[in-house]
C-alpha cells in the first residue's frame, strides 16, 4: 500500500510544481520585470564610476551618460551644441569669458548612501571643475589625481579661473580664445558631481567614495555593483528631462566574446557590446545588428626625423605601395571604412573632395627612384600586438604591409613591443615607422588634427611622427579662432590637403563599433562619438502599455535633443 501512496505523492508533487510555474507566468497580466528592464552585456568592468579619471571606453560606457550630465551636450552629428545642465551660455571678451546659466530644476540622485538636500547650483559646477584643474583642491588627489582627458586637451592651461556670479550662473575665464573649449565641456569626461555629497564625505572622512559610490544627475542611479559580475542601475525618477522608460538597467559583465554571443542568442541579454559572428546574428529574425563608424583612425606613421622618412617622396611612395583594401578585409574583416585622411565620414568636417588614395606600386616605384632609393632599403616597423578598436590585429596588418612593400623593393623588419614600453620608446623617437591609431574624445575635428600632428604635440608626446609644419599649424590654429562653421570646414580641408601632400602618416582605416540587440528593444543606444546612452531605450511592450497610461508631465521643452543620439 505504501508504494501506491508514494507514487501518488510524487504525482501530486509534479502537478503542484507545474501549476506553480504556470501561475508564475500569468501573474495578473501585468508587465513582468524583464519587460520593464534592460540587460546589457558589457565587455568589461569599469575601473571607477567617475569618467573624469579615465579614458577607457568600457568605463565611459558604464558611467558618463547613465549616471551624469554635462553642462552642454552635442546635438546631431556633433557640429552643434545643445543645452544640458546649462540652459544657455554666452561667450564674451573675444572668446575669453564663457558664462553658463544653469537650470534650476536639476535633482541629484537619491540613493541608499546619499540624500540630497538641495538642487544643482553653481557650487556643484565649480567643485567638479576645480577638483580636476586646481592641484590644491582637497579632492584633487583623491583617487590618484590623474585626469587624462583634461591633461590631453590642455584644459588646465586654458581655464585660469571659474567664477560664481550667483547661485545659477558660472563664468569660466580662459587664457585665450579656443573654439574647442565648448566641445571639451560637452565631452563624456566633463561631468558634474555633487558638492554637497563631497562635503558629506569629507565629514565622514571617506572621500574616495565619491568615485566608487557615485552621485550624479543622470537618468540612472547606481544601485549595486558586484566587481566583475554586474552593475545595477535604477531609473532616476526626478530626472530633469523625461525619466527613462526602463525601470532597471543591468550591465552583465561578460568578458568572453562567445559568452556574450550565447547570452544574446539565448535571450539572456537584451543588448550586447562588440558582438562576434555577425552573420549568425543577422540571419535571426528576432535580433538585429547595428554599427556606427566611430571617430577613430588607424594609421601607419613615420618618424620624419629619421632617414629615409625625412623625405616626403619616400613617405608618399609607401602610401601608394600599400593595398588598403586587403588590409581592411584581412585585419578588420570588413568592419571598417577605408581612411583617406584623418577624419572619418561621420565627422562634420569631413571633406568629400579629398582624392581617394589609390594602390599603385608602379607609381610607388617611380617615386622611390626619384627619391634616390631605386635599389630599395630596409626599414623597421614597430607594432603593439594588443587588440585595439582602431586596429584589431596589428601583427597581421604588419605582415601584409611587409608583403606589399617587398614588391617595391623595401624590406620590412617587424618589431613587436608589449604595452607601455611601446609608447615610451615611441616618445623617445627611437623608431622608424609604427602602426598606431587615435580615438577621438570629442567630435570636434580639432581633436584629430592637433594631438596627432601639431608641432606642440611633438613635445607632449602624442605626435610621434615628429612632423612639424608651420603652415599646417597656422591653419589649425585659425580654425579654432573662428566660430563660423563653414569657414572652419574650409580650414580643415586645407589642413587635410597638406597632409595628403606631406604624408607624415598614412591613414588606413576608420573602424566601426558594433552592437547587437533583440528586436524588442527600441530606442538609440550607440552614439557616433563617445559613450552609449540608455536614457531613450524602451521595450516594445513597455511603450505599448505606456501609451494607454496618461502621459507623465513633460518636464522639458521639446526642442532640446538629448546627448548626441541620432
Amino acid at each position: 500500500m505504501k508504494g501506491v501512496l508514494l507514487m501518488n505523492y510524487i504525482k501530486l508533487m509534479i502537478v503542484s510544481l507545474l501549476s506553480l510555474l504556470l501561475s508564475a507566468c500569468n501573474e495578473e497580466g501585468k508587465l513582468s520585470l524583464s519587460e520593464r528592464s534592460v540587460i546589457y552585456c558589457a565587455e568589461g568592468s569599469p575601473e571607477t564610476f567617475n569618467p573624469q579619471l579615465v579614458t577607457s571606453g568600457t568605463t565611459i560606457d558604464a558611467t558618463s551618460n547613465q549616471l551624469y550630465d554635462k553642462l552642454i551636450s552635442y546635438q546631431g552629428d556633433g557640429s552643434s551644441l545643445s543645452p544640458a545642465l546649462a540652459k544657455s551660455w554666452h561667450v564674451t571678451h573675444e572668446g575669453k569669458k564663457v558664462t553658463f546659466y544653469l537650470r534650476k530644476d536639476v535633482v541629484f540622485h537619491h540613493t541608499g548612501y546619499f540624500t540630497p538636500s538641495r538642487l544643482l547650483n553653481a557650487d556643484d559646477v565649480i567643485f567638479s571643475f576645480k577638483r580636476v584643474l586646481d592641484t590644491e583642491h582637497p579632492y584633487h588627489f583623491v583617487s590618484g589625481g590623474n585626469y587624462p582627458f583634461f591633461k590631453n586637451s590642455a584644459l588646465s592651461d586654458l581655464i585660469y579661473d571659474i567664477e560664481k556670479i550667483n547661485d545659477y550662473t558660472v563664468r569660466f575665464h580662459l587664457t585665450h580664445a579656443d573654439n574647442s573649449f565648448l566641445a571639451n565641456l560637452a565631452a563624456d569626461f566633463s561631468i558634474i558631481l555633487s558638492a554637497e555629497y563631497a562635503e558629506q564625505l569629507t565629514k565622514k572622512k571617506t572621500q574616495s567614495d565619491i568615485d566608487t559610490h557615485p552621485i550624479g544627475t543622470g537618468p540612472f542611479k547606481l544601485k549595486e555593483y558586484r566587481v566583475g559580475s554586474l552593475i545595477r542601475f535604477y531609473r532616476h525618477l526626478q530626472y530633469w528631462q523625461k525619466p527613462a522608460y526602463i525601470e532597471q538597467l543591468v550591465f552583465d559583465i561578460t568578458p568572453s566574446n562567445t559568452g556574450r554571443l550565447t547570452k544574446l542568442l539565448a535571450k539572456e541579454c537584451d543588448v550586447v557590446a562588440y558582438p562576434i559572428a555577425h552573420e549568425k546574428i543577422t540571419e535571426r529574425d528576432d535580433l538585429s545588428l547595428e554599427e556606427v563608424t566611430a571617430l577613430n583612425v588607424g594609421y601607419l606613421g613615420f618618424n620624419t626625423d629619421k632617414a629615409p622618412f625625412d623625405n616626403k617622396l619616400v613617405r608618399r611612395a609607401i602610401s601608394y605601395a600599400i593595398n588598403k583594401k586587403t588590409l581592411l578585409e584581412a585585419v578588420y574583416q570588413g568592419k571598417a571604412e577605408v581612411a583617406n585622411s584623418l577624419l572619418p565620414k561621420t565627422s562634420w568636417a569631413f571633406d568629400e573632395s579629398i582624392p581617394k588614395q589609390t594602390f599603385n606600386p608602379v607609381l610607388a616605384k617611380r617615386l622611390l627612384t626619384l627619391a634616390g632609393h631605386s635599389e630599395g632599403f630596409t626599414m623597421d616597423l614597430w607594432i603593439m600586438p594588443v587588440q585595439k578598436l582602431y586596429n584589431p590585429n596589428a601583427m597581421t596588418m604588419a605582415k601584409l604591409i611587409q608583403n606589399d612593400l617587398k614588391r617595391v623593393g623595401i624590406t620590412v623588419n617587424i618589431i613587436s613591443y608589449e604595452g607601455n614600453s611601446f609608447l615610451q620608446q615611441l616618445k623617445r623617437g627611437e623608431h622608424q615607422s609604427f602602426l598606431f591609431g587615435w580615438s577621438a574624445d570629442t567630435p570636434d575635428p580639432d581633436n584629430f588634427f592637433r594631438p596627432i600632428l601639431s608641432c606642440s604635440a611633438t613635445k607632449t608626446g602624442t605626435n610621434t611622427t615628429f612632423w612639424c609644419n608651420q603652415e599646417y599649424d597656422a591653419i589649425i590654429k585659425k580654425a579654432l579662432q573662428t566660430t563660423n562653421i563653414n569657414q572652419r570646414k574650409k580650414y580643415y580641408a586645407q589642413a587635410m590637403a597638406i597632409l595628403t601632400q606631406e604624408a607624415p602618416l598614412i591613414p588606413i582605416a576608420h573602424s566601426k563599433r558594433y552592437q547587437a540587440r533583440g528586436n524588442n528593444v527600441i530606442g538609440d543606444i550607440l552614439t557616433p562619438f563617445g559613450a552609449i546612452n540608455f536614457s531613450q531605450v524602451s521595450k516594445l511592450n513597455l511603450t505599448k502599455k505606456k501609451k494607454l497610461e496618461p502621459h507623465l508631465p513633460q518636464r522639458i521643452e521639446t526642442n532640446i535633443i538629448n546627448t548626441g543620439v541620432n
Binding site: K2, L20, L21, I39, L230, T262, K263, L265, A266
Partner: protein, 343 residues
C-alpha cells in the same frame, strides 16, 4: 542505534583528521613559502609575517604546527585567497549553498528518472524494453559531461530558446541572501516579483541539473534493475505470488520498497561522483558555485583556496554520505543491528 551513530561519528572524525593532514601537507608540497601557502597573505609586511608565524607556531615541530593548523580550521579561519585577497571562509559560505542546491536538484532528478526506469527494466527482464533502457543508460554513462553541457546549451538555449544558458537567476531579480539556497531565499523575500523570480530560477536550474543528472541516473538505472531482479527472485515474492496476489500488487506493495532500500545505500557513494560532475558543469553554465570557484583557483594557482576548497567540499560529501547511511539505517532495521558495519 546509539552504537551505529557512534561508529559513524568516529569514522567521520578520523576521515576528517586524515583529510586535514593531507591538506596540511599540501602547504609544504606546493611551491612557495609554507606560511604564505597556509595563510594566503602574499602582500604581508615583515611584521605581519612574524605575527602569522607566531599564530601558526612555525618555530615548533611539525606536530604542533599541525595542531595549531587544526585549531585555525576549527575556528573557521581558512586564510585569504591568494588571487583576490578576500576571506576564503566568506567566499565559501557564499558559494557552497549554490552547489548544494544544484547537486541536490540533480540528485533528485537522477533518482526520479533512474530508479523507475531501472525497475521497468527489471520487470521486463531480458525483453526489448530492458535492452533498450540498458543501451540508453550505457550511452548516457559514456557521454563526457562538458560535451553534453555544450550540446544542451546549443540545443535548448540557442536553437530552441527554452532555457537560459548561464547563471543561477536572471540578473534583474534582486534576492537577498538569507540561507544561501536560492529557492528558499526567493520564497522568504518580499520582492513584488517573487513568483517571476521563482519561475526564472527554476528555468535556470533545469538545464545544468539535467546535465549533471545524466551520469548518476544511468547508475541508478543499473542499481535499481539489479536490486529489483534480486528482490523478484526472493522466496517472499514467490510466496506472495503463490498466495494469488496480482503482479501489480506484488510490485507496488512488496518489491519496490525492498528494492529501494538497497539503492539508498549507494546514494551517498554516487553523490561524490555527482559533485565532481557538478564542478565541470558549473564552469560550463557559469553557475556561481564552489566548483567553478575551485577550478578558477586552480587556474590562478591560488593554493590557499585550492586547499580550503578541497577540504570543505570533501567534508560536505562525507556528511552527505553519512546522512544517507542514517536514512538507510532508519529504513532498514537489519542494518542497525549489523555489528560489522560496512561504512
Amino acid at each position: 542505534m546509539l552504537v551505529f551513530t557512534l561508529r559513524r561519528l568516529s569514522l567521520f572524525i578520523f576521515t576528517m583528521l586524515l583529510l586535514t593532514l593531507l591538506s596540511f601537507s599540501l602547504n609544504f608540497l606546493f611551491p612557495g613559502e609554507t606560511i604564505i601557502n597556509l595563510t594566503g597573505a602574499i602582500n604581508a609586511t615583515p611584521s605581519q609575517l612574524t605575527e602569522l608565524n607566531e599564530a601558526y607556531q612555525t618555530h615548533r615541530n611539525i606536530f604542533w604546527q599541525y595542531i595549531t593548523y587544526l585549531g585555525h580550521i576549527v575556528n573557521g579561519d581558512l586564510g585569504l585567497s591568494m588571487a583576490s585577497q578576500s576571506d576564503i571562509r566568506a567566499e565559501i559560505t557564499n558559494l557552497l549553498p549554490a552547489t548544494i542546491e544544484l547537486s541536490l536538484v540533480a540528485l533528485l532528478i537522477a533518482m526520479l528518472v533512474g530508479v523507475p526506469l531501472g525497475f521497468i527494466a527489471a520487470i521486463k527482464h531480458n525483453k526489448l524494453t530492458d535492452n533498450l533502457i540498458l543501451s540508453v543508460s550505457m550511452l548516457g554513462y559514456s557521454v563526457p559531461v562538458f560535451w553534453l553541457g555544450l550540446l544542451a546549451i546549443l540545443t535548448f538555449s540557442i536553437n530552441l530558446g527554452w532555457f537560459p544558458s548561464a547563471g543561477q537567476i536572471s540578473l534583474l531579480f534582486e534576492i537577498e541572501s538569507v540561507t544561501g539556497i536560492q529557492f528558499i531565499d526567493i520564497l522568504l523575500s518580499d520582492s513584488p516579483y517573487k513568483w517571476q523570480a521563482f519561475s526564472d530560477a527554476t528555468a535556470h536550474i533545469i538545464l545544468p541539473a539535467c546535465v549533471i543528472a545524466v551520469a548518476p541516473a544511468t547508475i541508478f538505472i543499473r542499481l535499481a534493475r539489479t536490486s529489483m531482479i534480486e528482490v523478484l527472485d526472493t522466496s517472499y515474492i514467490r510466496a506472495a505470488s503463490a498466495k494469488g496476489l496480482t503482479f501489480q500488487q506484488i510490485i507496488f506493495r512488496h518489491a519496490i520498497r525492498n528494492a529501494l532500500i538497497k539503492i539508498i545505500r549507494h546514494v551517498g557513494l554516487q553523490f561524490a561522483n555527482l559533485v565532481t560532475i557538478a564542478m565541470v558543469t558549473e564552469v560550463i553554465f557559469s553557475w556561481p558555485g564552489i566548483g567553478r570557484w575551485l577550478i578558477e583557483s586552480i587556474y590562478q594557482r591560488d593554493y590557499t583556496a585550492i586547499e580550503s576548497g578541497l577540504l570543505v567540499l570533501s567534508c560536505f560529501i562525507f556528511i552527505v554520505h553519512i546522512l544517507t547511511d542514517f536514512i538507510f539505517a532508519a529504513l532498514n532495521p537489519l542494518a542497525r543491528g549489523n555489528k560489522h558495519g560496512t561504512g
